[in-house]
Symmetry: C2
Subunit: 83 residues, 2 copies
DNA sequence: CGTGTAAGGAATTCTGACACG
DNA sequence: CGTGTAAGGAATTCTGACACG
């Protein structure tokens, strides 16, 4: 499992997100796709799930930095609406 | 399951076979990858398993036509060495 | 901050064919 | 029959930047 086999185009289809969004999550250190020799990204199904979670949380109002911290400490948090 | 998400390059890495071999199996109607709008092939993990089985059987001496018939009628066969 | 986009280039894949056998 | 290869083109992906906000 955890095999990185999908190109970004497939991930876009599976998630409904844009390449820009997916690359941005990587830029913010939220996902870690592998690279081919040529430099192309390769994602796993777990990456796809992570991407969907990230997008979900962002819809709830969290920003990428908060999401990164949530990853470290798995402690529950109030939704932004209640802070 | 059965999601067609891999490009041929990834399948080559996973199987150790060449693009030529993989495309040939498709030409002989042994595997059925999907296509992107642009015409690029997309394979599933089941396709990868099928490809490995095909290669295995060919190593044993079967040709592609025999393998296609084996798919239809799941009846056991003698290996080529014993025919 | 998060995302769209145009720009130019590079990696990847495609088809049809010739070759060998 | 099964597979390698060179050929030319097309689809896909990449980066860095400008934009808006």
């Amino acid at each position: 499992m955890e095999s990185k086999v999908m190109s970004i185009g497939v991930v876009c289809e599976l998630t409904g997100l844009s390449e820009r969004q997916i690359r941005y999550y990587e830029e913010r250190k939220l996902i870690f796709p592998e690279r081919t020799k040529g430099g192309n990204r390769r994602y796993s199904f777990e990456d796809v799930k992570a991407i969907q979670d990230i997008y979900q949380k962002m819809q709830e109002g969290f920003n990428t930095l908060e999401l990164k911290e949530m990853k470290k400490s798995k402690t529950p948090r109030c939704t932004p609406a209640f802070r």
